[in-house]
């Protein structure tokens, strides 16, 4: 055995006992960057050190959020995160402060997503309340989108879906962020189409979302094909041809090119007839 090997063996055995990365300096920025790299346990350790040294609201909020993904994930860690978040909300005197709003949002996310047995009804209520907070800003608007999603997809008979979609649609009025409006409109378009309620309504929302700008280049082809096909089915050949032609111009290597070319040809033939 080489000395290096023996040393590594020893270190390996002692690893659980040796002091960890304790004492290494770190900032809030470092911690959030660790979160974006999915290194939640390291982020949580860092935030905990920061919160122990200086229990500011920002530090405790960061700790709570990183705790949500601390591994191994269990209802105990999630409950701990929830305690911190609730405390942040309770002690706050300014209901429109960023951390208070964010903490309320994440409490709702715990109910909806993070606890092992989600409580969708409670989450929906929490989102509703948050979305109605005056001066709620971004977090209130996100909550409105979440509420709409849960409302549309609550397990109910398909016959109720039209009414639910209409209610969700009303939330659009309170959204000022273009991104969030667009997200909600995609959800609405999907709902109108998947539940087979109204193709024109689906097309309408898709067109507005398209106008707002789709971030993901890869989805743009789907959008164009979808709007074209919906327009074709609704019976608006000119519009359909417009979207299809745009698709053919921008996605020359797509698997749908041949098919859509045929569709365009058919539409033109229809025009001539």
């Amino acid at each position: 055995m080489t000395p290096a090997f023996r040393l590594s063996l020893l270190l390996g055995l002692l690893a659980p006992v040796l002091p960890g990365a304790e004492g290494r300096p770190g900032t809030l920025q470092d911690g959030w960057e660790l979160v974006t790299l999915y290194r939640f346990n390291e982020a949580e350790a860092l935030f905990r050190r920061l919160a122990d040294r200086e229990p500011s609201r920002e530090h405790r909020y960061a700790l709570a959020v990183s705790l949500l993904n601390r591994q191994p994930k269990s209802d105990r860690t999630v409950a701990e995160a929830r305690r911190y978040l609730t405390a942040l909300v309770k002690e706050s005197t300014a209901p429109d402060e960023e951390i208070t709003l964010a903490a309320r949002f994440y409490v709702a996310r715990i109910l909806q997503l993070h606890q092992s047995k989600p409580d969708l009804a409670a989450a929906r209520l929490a989102y509703r309340e948050l979305s109605r907070t005056p001066g709620g800003g971004f977090w209130a608007e996100v909550a409105a989108v979440k509420w709409a999603t849960l409302h549309v997809y609550e397990v109910t008979p398909w016959s109720e879906k039209a009414a639910r979609l209409a209610e969700a649609e009303k939330e659009l009025a309170r959204l000022t962020s273009p991104t969030l409006r667009k997200d909600l409109q995609i959800i609405l378009a999907d709902g109108y189409e998947k539940f087979g309620i109204s193709l024109p309504a689906a097309l309408h929302h898709l067109e507005e979302a398209w106008a707002a700008g789709i971030e993901r280049g890869i989805d743009q082809g789907d959008f164009l094909a979808r709007m074209g096909e919906l327009a074709r089915r609704i019976g608006d050949p000119a519009k359909a041809r417009g979207y299809f032609t745009e698709f053919l111009r921008r996605f020359r290597r797509d698997e749908r090119v041949y098919w859509i070319t045929q569709k365009v040809a058919d539409l033109e033939q229809g025009d001539r007839r």
């Binding site: 055995m1 090997f5 590594s8 270190l11 390996g12 690893a15």
Partner: protein
């Protein structure tokens, strides 16, 4: 070989030819893979595809398959030898000491410990691979041959302890008593009484352990990354994974992989056969 009458010497029928036939038939089938390995190792693919079963004429023998195999396999053989021999020696040394503990004493916890060792034989290992892997990673033992040695030693404990304990318990007690009167401690007793008495069983167990480690491929497959460290089991799997199989080269490689075993057996066959035949291993 010692022939002190354990055979029914006076009890003989005139002819044993039916028995010979029976034995030879079974052995013939058992030896068929060996035959295939040798004859295919001297063919090229075209000859193999034309006629897989019969050997080609000596003029067409492709000796370069052997050259290729030797060049390919020898580094693997060297790695495997290190792992298997080191592992075998450690396995037996530790198991012998452990068996001495169990055979010679009824100290507190010894029954519990015994049960704990025996349970090991019943653990199915597949799902344990990932934790084991993480552990080796923590110990910086990934991509090393030492990991194979250590895990192999741990894996061999249960069976060898089981056999050796039975053996030591069956040794005549007066040997130990005489040694104790001479003032020998447990360690001296182990070295001067147990080891000489159990040479042949140790030899047998050593060969079994060696074979076991020689054929191991799952663990090395997973923890070895660099080709220089490959053991023979992994090397052969890699060879077998080629899409265009050069059957001749593959079989030649197999043949060369078996070479160290052949040498080992050639010299220790008597030891091995006698060890097993002396009734060392029993339930």
């Amino acid at each position: 070989m010692n022939t002190s009458g354990s055979t029914p010497a006076a009890f003989r029928r005139p002819s044993d030819w039916t028995k010979h036939l029976f034995i030879l038939l079974l052995l013939g089938i058992e030896l068929l893979p060996l035959y295939m390995m040798v004859q295919v190792s001297l063919k090229d693919n075209a000859a193999f595809i034309r006629n897989p079963w019969l050997p080609s004429s000596p003029a067409d023998w492709q000796w370069e398959n052997w050259v290729h195999a030797a060049r390919l396999v020898l580094p693997y053989v060297s790695n495997s030898l290190f792992v298997a021999v080191t592992g075998t020696m450690l396995t037996l040394a530790l198991a012998l000491a452990g068996a001495y503990f169990f055979a010679r004493s009824r100290l507190p916890f010894s029954r519990l410990l015994w049960a704990a060792f025996m349970v090991l034989m019943m653990l199915p290992g597949i799902a344990n691979i990932v934790p084991l892997f993480s552990l080796l990673k923590e110990m910086s033992l990934l991509n090393t041959l030492y990991a194979l040695v250590l895990v192999g030693v741990a894996g061999g404990q249960a069976f060898n302890l089981f056999v050796l304990r039975g053996f030591i318990e069956d040794l005549p007690r007066d040997l130990f008593e005489a040694a104790e009167i001479d003032g020998a401690g447990h360690f001296q007793q182990l070295v001067h009484v147990v080891v000489p008495m159990s040479a042949s069983i140790l030899g047998t167990l050593a060969i079994l352990a060696f074979l076991n480690k020689w054929n191991e491929f799952l663990l090395p497959l997973i923890i070895l990354r660099d080709r220089e460290l490959f053991t023979i089991g992994v090397g052969l799997i890699y060879l077998d994974g080629e899409y265009v199989k050069q059957w001749g080269q593959i079989m030649a490689a197999y043949l060369f992989a078996a070479l160290p075993l052949l040498i080992l057996f050639a010299f220790t066959m008597r030891l091995f056969v006698r060890g097993l035949s002396q009734g060392a291993i029993k339930g």
